[in-house]
């Protein structure tokens, strides 16, 4: 009696086990298919600051969402099932809400428990900047704030991607100015303007800013990084006519604020990930 019981159990285990192995195999085939399908898609997802290369990111990220929770301007979102294997991983859509470094301290990077957003380069950059600052200013003035020195260099260390400008739709390139608020009515994106005349500690809605420019240069003036990232460049044409256009430099961090504030519809600027170039 007992023996036949264990024999039945053994048989059932083998039968069900074969089913389990087949199921695992099916999942494997599915994943492999999705991975191939996903390879292009995943690269277009703009990762938060400090993201390691996509090949590693996809497994280093445990999809906990701590970066989403800590972001003060809710720029970081989690991908849905339509992104295939990238489901649950964080991304930034600069057209809807760009990262404007409002937190000043790379909080999403620092909070990541598995270093999918790797804080080590930022920490090093911050420390190096302090050392360099103290070398250059052996007796720092009364307004010396080590936090700002560190924060500036940490921002500049970010490399989410690089802004690419489509000059065919760019207002400046076409010699046009811009008046009014940059985005369509009802747009909810916020950012902290770097313009010293309108110095604010808090981020405010994009559309609360009213601009009046002879020649549109919003992407240049609103860039949180400044002149190491994007400048207006003059170009003299063959017929002696001069034209101005925004020019993206090496220092661009790919934060996407220029994408968000660009008044063209659709935005003349996109952020390309470095892996794609």
């Amino acid at each position: 009696m007992k023996k036949s019981d264990s024999e039945i159990n053994r048989r059932q285990f083998l039968k069900n086990g074969a089913f389990a192995v087949a199921a695992i195999g099916a999942v494997g085939v599915g994943v492999n298919y999705l991975r191939k399908l996903n390879e292009e898609n995943a690269l277009t997802l703009l990762r938060p600051p400090g993201a390691i290369l996509e090949d590693e990111f996809i497994y280093a990220c445990i999809k906990c969402g701590l970066c989403v929770q800590i972001c003060p301007i809710e720029a970081v979102k989690l991908a849905g099932i339509s992104d295939g294997l990238s489901y649950g991983t964080p991304y930034i859509d600069p057209l809807a809400q760009a990262c404007d470094f409002s937190c000043d301290a790379m909080q999403c990077v620092e909070t990541c428990p598995t270093a999918a957003l790797d804080f080590i380069p930022f920490k090093k950059a911050g420390e190096d900047a302090l050392v360099e600052y103290q070398k250059a200013n052996p007796t720092p003035g009364p307004d010396y704030n080590p936090f700002i020195v560190q924060s500036q260099s940490m921002k500049a260390t970010t490399k989410m991607g690089i802004a690419v400008i489509d000059h065919s739709t760019c207002l400046a390139r076409n010699g046009k100015g811009f008046k009014g608020s940059p985005r369509e009515d009802g747009f909810k994106g916020i950012y902290r303007s770097p313009n010293p005349k309108r110095e604010e500690r808090k981020a405010s809605p994009v559309n609360d800013h009213i601009f009046n420019r002879e020649l549109c240069d919003l992407c240049v003036t609103e860039c949180p990084i400044g002149e190491i990232a994007i400048i207006m460049e003059e170009k003299i044409r063959g017929n002696g006519e001069s034209i101005w256009r925004p020019m993206v430099l090496e220092g661009c961090t790919g934060c996407g604020v220029c994408v968000m504030v660009c008044p063209s519809t659709p935005s003349s600027i996109i952020i390309e990930k470095l892996e794609m170039i």
């Binding site: 389990a20 695992i24 280093a60 969402g65 929770q69």
Partner: protein
């Protein structure tokens, strides 16, 4: 369990040794004498809903008590880590040679979970925290109703296939260099949907629940979930468990009917127990349904070793 089975069972109780005979009443009267209690179930649901609410509220109201989701979180600033995710990360790292994701916080979270759930019984996580367990536990009633009305047939499988799934998912993670299981994991999916807003992936949860209702009772929790298996490894020698007292048992086996893992209560069958006192094994989720239903209080929560002191 295999070792225990080699022991010779204690001879089955005679009629006058049954708990009802000692009280001088019939078996039916004995069973009817105890009112329906849901003490442990209510406590457990309270804890489960409270912590999932805390996850939601921490983000929704920015109170920052329990941040993150069930796949990785921070409780009052201390990192916690899903052990199966952690295992996958370590295995993938050993293949790719990239170990940067194994940070200090990663190990802090991993070891806190290991120690905490070792002390509390391993699969305690399942019944006391897992939101999918809560949904499945409630839809199970519909399944039981349909089986009782003979609308559907019950399908059971070999309990050992979950180890195949566990190893299979780990292997898949290594081969594809991807946290494959996290895309199918109802624990993480429901937790994320709760905290960050729902998505289309919830259809997968509906499919799983429907399958469990119309085909096989508690299919995912019993036969598949590798998180449960990982926790059962953690709680293999856990001190907190369910104690079985043979002298109080009436062998009605109602406890096995309500149990998620009835094979862990093998000793309640008449003439099977090999000792006066038995402890439930690693697969037991310490949910307390058997403690609630037991008419003679033969089953109870206990901390191994402490019985002799108190």
């Amino acid at each position: 369990m295999i070792n225990l089975k080699k022991l010779t069972p204690i001879p089955a109780k005679r009629r006058e040794e049954m708990p009802n005979s000692k009280l001088g009443i019939t078996f039916k009267e004995w069973k009817a004498s105890k009112p329906n209690k849901h003490k442990w179930r209510n406590i457990r649901w309270g804890v489960l809903l409270f912590f999932n609410f805390l996850f939601w509220a921490s983000f929704a109201f920015d109170i920052g008590v329990l941040e993150g989701s069930l796949s990785g979180s921070r409780f009052l600033g201390i990192y916690l880590m899903d052990p199966f995710n952690a295992l996958q990360e370590m295995f993938i790292g050993s293949r790719t040679g990239y170990f940067a994701m194994l940070t200090m916080n990663f190990f802090i979270g991993f070891f806190i979970i290991l120690i905490f759930y070792f002390l509390l019984g391993g699969r305690t996580f399942c019944s006391w925290l897992c939101p999918y367990h809560f949904l499945a536990e409630n839809t199970e009633k519909l399944h039981n109703y349909l089986v009782k009305k003979k609308k559907i047939k019950e399908h059971t499988y070999s309990i050992g296939i979950k180890y195949i799934f566990w190893a299979g998912f780990l292997l898949l993670a290594i081969l594809t260099k991807n946290l494959v299981f996290e895309n199918l994991n109802p624990v993480g999916i429901i937790s994320r949907a709760l905290i960050y807003g729902p998505g289309l992936i919830l259809l997968w949860i509906v499919v799983l629940l429907l399958f469990e209702i119309v085909y096989s009772k508690r299919f995912w929790c019993r036969y598949v979930c590798p998180i449960g298996v990982t926790y059962s490894f953690i709680g293999k020698l856990s001190p907190t468990t369910i104690k079985f007292d043979l002298t109080k048992c009436g062998h009605c086996r109602d406890c096995q009917d309500v149990c998620l893992v009835p094979h862990e209560l093998w000793f309640v069958k008449r003439g099977e127990a090999t000792k006066e006192i038995h402890f439930a094994g690693a697969d037991c989720t310490r949910c307390g349904l058997c403690v609630d239903i037991c008419y003679g209080d033969a089953l109870s929560y206990s901390i191994r070793g402490f019985d002799k002191i108190t």
